[in-house]
Subunit: 411 residues, 2 copies
């Protein structure tokens, strides 16, 4: 077929659009399918780029990927702005991590010690140094630490910018839903549909509900604080993300639910913790309360790479709380995979094969082995690629066929 | 002029629409002007009909009017439903007044003692009796009292019903704003424009901001409580109004401000007090946060009757926190005043003349004296009234001319 696209991307969130952009830049013919671009988890996300603050016990491989992607962010944001003229709200003031009470601080310090122990840049601060950095913090706040490399970006600016970039690079957006992979006619299909990936692929992606509150500094000015603040406040975990335009995102709950209702209790807990940490927030306008669904996975890590048993289908989903920070590395490495057929070592721990049935019998067997042939041969111009054997080759060397199930429950 | 209306009502909130209804029922030709009917304070109001719980020290005359109007509510609601087929959500389970802490209870008891002292039906309840009535109350709630005659209605049902009733009775609605009284061509003009009355008349009506939160019981059922609950919770005053359809209104702040921004602090305080009193509310959906502007007056009482120095102009504004409960008595007595020219004794303490400049020199002089001639002669059919001398006569016997000012500040 003359007009058959090289790559069909299912999902126009940040991950899908960035993959489309990168693939189009490589000269591939790209189509993105989404009935409502940017309407998923990214609409609710705060946009923290936090490989340090989000480095948790037992997630070493994920921490490596987060760090690698965060390191790509400055250049990624600059390139995106150069390509589109859109300021995506990248801010590099860094993140303050604080504890309100002695108990909160003790809990936080255990995590900071772990983060320091694996070599991440966490700087403990005396209370006076904390207040020098952020005078608006409540006097009650007992202590904190600084993560200079944990930055932020504004997802509501990012998604429109990525859409413009992808389209300018030649990608086409089809505003319609894809119900089944068999409905897609492309050499390679990339499933970047967030929670929707479960129905399309059978992968164990489940919705993890998050509720946030959006505030605005009164009087039209910038918020009275500059850093991202992540706090423990009487046992509640909360983050406060200030935007230059005056907006503050307060988040977020983590709930094993699939509805997007906003609950009184969640808003109460978020606002209470926020105001406890930063009293002036009580005077801020409440703009919006909303809930979104993160694509969670059994091991909290994303699912990136060839789908076993489905030649020509790649997964780029399961980003859970990390979709924004992981956008650059996901886009770069999935585009590389499409072009070269090689699974980058950074991606290896995150391939879909780890959830294949045989993985239970022997996880090693499910790990990717040698790089396979290119999925789509690199095309310097937008002329069609040269072979269709790629997808089959890409699936070679994987564990036995992965059988999608009708329904997964991973709660 | 053949088509000149007998009565022009400025404002299509509950008060204005009810006046229009009553006047149209009396055979008068009525036009109601409002660019956005029902978009004022009534959109935010909870609809408590609370002459007992709202009986405060030093407001004896207002308490009398509240009581008189609340007594008219059952028949008013029934007539309205009969005329329109609309259920306006009238509920007669009564109101529980509760105190969370010992301090809260002490504060509440002082007020209940006053209310009992002036003969209002307040029944103290033992904690066990309180929980028998409303098992969902928090175990921490220290005590309460029952006001059996304090009922509720749903303002968002009331306003559409009144509009239908007024239009069926013959009133016409003009969806446009009136900027000045001189733009109105009618024998009698009734200013029922809430806070907008200040600019039209120079009366000392000021906005008093109120913020509320609207919740909904999860699962589509009715709320887990039946009574209106008015509570003191750690010094916060809050009310919880359950609707049959599952909605719960949580209110309200009282702020000397004229913006309608919703603040994080107000939502936090309302939700905290609500959940402290009724823990299950934490599981309710948060539907809406919003703010409205009550038309406040220097003495917290409404302004009802002829405007001094402006023949043919009647005021029906300044209802502050009491617009819904005062709707029936306001409509009945203002319509009577239009037809007979007589100021009902119930209205006498509330005439605009009390704010005339000379009222400061001697308030007695500003009080209404003998009934004046009819403002508009009663017209059994919709044929035009017989005399235009009425308005002048109605103004006779009032204190010296009331001079509207450009701006009033009564904060």
């Amino acid at each position: 077929m003359l007009n058959r696209p090289d790559v069909a991307v299912l999902g126009a969130g940040p991950v899908g659009l960035a993959i489309a952009w990168r693939c189009a830049q490589r000269g591939l013919r790209v189509v993105v399918h989404d009935p409502a671009p940017g309407s998923g988890a990214s609409r609710v996300a705060a946009g923290m780029l936090a490989p340090v603050a989000e480095a948790y016990f037992g997630e070493h491989e994920l921490t490596g990927l987060l760090t690698a992607s965060a390191a790509r962010w400055p250049a990624f944001a600059a390139e995106l702005t150069a390509a589109t003229g859109v300021d995506v709200g990248y801010r590099s003031e860094g993140t303050l991590m604080v504890g309100l009470t002695a108990d909160d601080l003790a809990e936080a310090r255990r995590l900071w010690a772990y983060q320091q122990g694996i070599g991440l840049p966490v700087t403990p601060l005396r209370p006076s140094a904390l207040r020098d950095r952020e005078p608006a913090l409540a006097p009650r706040v007992r202590g904190g630490a600084f993560a200079a490399t944990d930055h932020q970006v504004d997802p509501r600016r990012l998604v429109p910018a990525l859409r413009v970039a992808a389209e300018r690079a030649g990608a086409a957006l089809v505003p319609a839903a894809v119900r089944a992979l068999s409905d897609v006619d492309a050499r390679v299909t990339v499933v970047a549909a967030g929670c929707g990936a479960a129905a399309l692929t059978g992968l164990p992606v489940r919705p993890v509900k998050g509720q946030v509150v959006r505030l605005r500094a009164p009087g039209g000015g910038a918020p009275g604080f500059r850093h991202v603040i992540r706090g423990y406040a009487d046992g509640e975990h909360v983050y406060l993300v200030p935007r230059v335009d005056g907006e503050v995102v307060v988040g977020a709950t983590v709930e094993e639910r699939s509805d997007t209702d906003v609950s009184a209790g969640a808003v109460l807990r978020l606002l209470r913790a926020a105001v406890d940490l930063l009293p002036e927030l009580a005077e801020y306008d409440l703009l919006e309360t909303l809930a979104g669904l993160r694509p969670g996975t059994p091991d909290n890590a994303p699912i990136l790479g060839p789908l076993p048993g489905r030649p020509g289908v790649l997964a780029a989903t399961g980003h859970h709380r990390h979709g924004i920070v992981l956008t650059p590395v996901t886009a770069d490495l999935i585009a590389d995979l499409v072009v070269t057929g090689a699974v980058d070592p950074l991606l290896a721990p995150f391939t879909p094969a780890r959830f294949a049935p045989s993985a239970a019998a022997g996880r090693a067997a499910a790990a990717p082995s040698a790089p396979a042939g290119p999925v789509v041969a690199a095309a310097p111009s937008a002329v069609g690629p040269t072979g269709s054997a790629g997808p089959d080759a890409a699936a070679a060397g994987r564990a036995g066929p992965f059988v999608p199930e009708e329904e997964h429950t991973w709660n």
